[in-house]
Assembly symmetry: C2
Homo-oligomer: 369 residues x 2
């Protein structure tokens, strides 16, 4: 069975622009074509689109606009981890032999319908993600004696790091006080604790072992895949201070890649809200449960950007269907030593954590150079 | 690499009922569970949903409602061939080793947003599929000297056959005159030439070679897969009297399965409109180009139901995301000799043709017992 390499990528700036979804898909994909050697439309066997947008047939539309006539073409949707789901689908098409080269494009508009959890309103009208994030925050703080000041550091760090990411939505520095004094949304959540829905696109190109050399001298390999969906409703979570689906996805990804948390040099975790970063770090197994915040602090104080180097979702913005792909591109660039000012030293093994709806579903990928 | 078997299935009645999309998914899946031996929720590695519905996170919702906690869970959308696209995705998950057992559920409501081709309005406001179907009809009739009376026979045959299908939307007989005298929608299309959008669901269970025996003594194997997307806009078609994407998909499926049209005992073709049936038959290669209508007539006169035994889309109804899965279930039942009054003699090799938007995208599957 073929190994699967990442051989190209393209991003748009993440913004509040009111572009049409088709334009976002096309702009990210044009950037991929511009930066990938020897890429011919005829070589592309499959075109997958990752989005929560309501438009139909977007993979065929993107294909037509780009001059591609693929064998396989469809959209993939699983809310906020649509992006990594589409990467896993592409991986399977290559390993199963149905495709050699797969283009994936993720895109979202700032007003995506995926931001409202229509089915998850056991708590009356509270169907916006900030309500599960509030419960996570309260629960994590109480369980592990963590303060609002502690958690605010996630936003400070990620805003700082996003200033080195020209595609990031945020280009400002914020202090702990700025976070604590930003608009109070709930008892446990301020505006600067939240990632921002935005317009953005991310395209990535996956190739089989047979053909990757045509496109790059520096392939990045997908060596570990783990996924788990525990429920759709956040109230079905067994606990609100830990991410069960993330734990299980990480175990699978480590098992498949024969790696472990100690070997991971750089990581993208899904900080949809600030509390999610320490929770994800300890659920993945980088630290004991409850010690994720300690890890964030240590990394921040040593000026190491190994956690969410592009600024995470909080700094970069969160265009839902593009996020998992943008995370994967960041780790790819890090492992290729092409991350510019964001570059982490000696990055050889990286990990992506992408999740949906209060971690009711998680994907974990391990990449290696 | 594992072979992939169909080991279970469940359908709902196709109707104009205003059920919620979640209910349709669940009802089809409950029917699958009720009719499949030894099926335990814990065994299911992936849950895919095929639909054009705008609701998000449906694979997680279906999983939660059915008590499944899958590794892989996402929706697949490619308009009217979403169903077979999701089957191909499931096939890949199994062959690539990421899954052993995959549940797929397709569902649609009668008012699906997939019925309007928003992007394909070069002809002003004419963005409903009846407009491409009119052009196909006019072009095919002119090119091959075929009459309205000829084409009406497709509808007569498929309405007749759907009377043996308890899940079909239509349970009435129609004559050639009934078709010709039904409401005129365009110069070349009457109401009874059209499949009806409806509410319906179809679930199917795919298993690896390692585990299929747990669920069935009568596995049906997916031996051929072909897919092609030539464009998104029907005006990009090179010709309107033939289906280019279908030709290419059929070639790939025959090559992979080492079968050819002469070996196919029973076939489901995508008769979204009556002209599509003969066009598909000759594009797949069952006859010379332009002779598909002759084949329909011959089969009809010999009272053989080998073409669209369940009544096709015209007789059964067309719940977009469910259609490709319902077609695949029909061929599975035929190859298992479990099709009741619809049973075709000596059915060992079957073919499914499922397409989108004026055959701008086609999937062809070959199944064998």
């Amino acid at each position: 069975m073929s190994k699967v390499a990442i051989v190209g990528y393209g991003l748009t700036k993440f913004s509040k622009d009111d572009f049409k979804i088709e334009s976002v898909l096309i702009n990210a994909t044009k950037n991929l074509f511009d930066s990938t050697s020897n890429l011919n439309q005829k070589d592309i066997d499959a075109v997958l689109v990752s989005t929560n947008n309501n438009s139909k047939y977007l993979s065929a539309i993107l294909s037509e606009m780009m001059g591609i006539q693929p064998k396989i073409a469809h959209s993939v949707e699983s809310l906020c981890n649509s992006g990594t789901n589409s990467i896993v689908a592409a991986y399977s098409y290559i390993v199963s032999g149905l495709a050699e080269l797969v283009l994936i494009s993720g895109a979202e508009k700032y007003d995506s319908p995926g931001q409202i959890l229509e089915w998850d309103k056991l708590r009356g009208q509270f169907k916006h993600p900030i309500f599960w994030a509030s419960i996570f925050s309260k629960s994590y703080k109480r369980k592990y004696s963590i303060t609002d000041e502690d958690i605010a550091l996630v936003s400070v760090k990620n805003h700082k790091q996003s200033k080195n990411n020209p595609n990031a939505f945020s280009q400002i520095s914020v202090s702990v006080n700025d976070v604590l004094n930003s608009k109070k949304l709930t008892d446990d959540l301020r505006l600067l604790d939240c990632s921002r829905p935005c317009t953005g696109g991310a395209s990535i190109l996956l190739a089989s072992e047979n053909i990757y050399k045509k496109f790059t001298d520096d392939p990045i390999w997908i060596t570990g895949i783990g996924q788990k969906t525990t429920s759709a409703s956040f109230t079905k979570n067994l606990a609100f201070h830990t991410m069960e689906s993330t734990k299980q996805a990480a175990l699978s990804a480590f098992q498949m890649s024969k790696q472990n948390p100690n070997n991971i040099d750089v990581v993208e975790v899904h900080d949809a809200f600030s509390v999610c970063e320490p929770m994800a770090l300890d659920s993945i197994g980088f630290t004991k449960l409850g010690e994720g915040m300690k890890m964030v602090k240590e990394v921040y104080l040593t000026e190491n950007s190994k956690i969410n180097p592009r600024g995470g979702l909080i700094g970069s913005g969160h265009p839902l269907g593009a996020t998992g792909i943008a995370q994967t591109i960041e780790i790819t660039q890090q492992l290729q030593s092409k991350a510019g000012k964001r570059q982490v030293d000696n990055a050889n093994v990286g990990l992506i954590h992408n999740m949906s709806a209060a971690a009711t579903s998680s994907t974990v990928l391990v990449l290696e150079n």
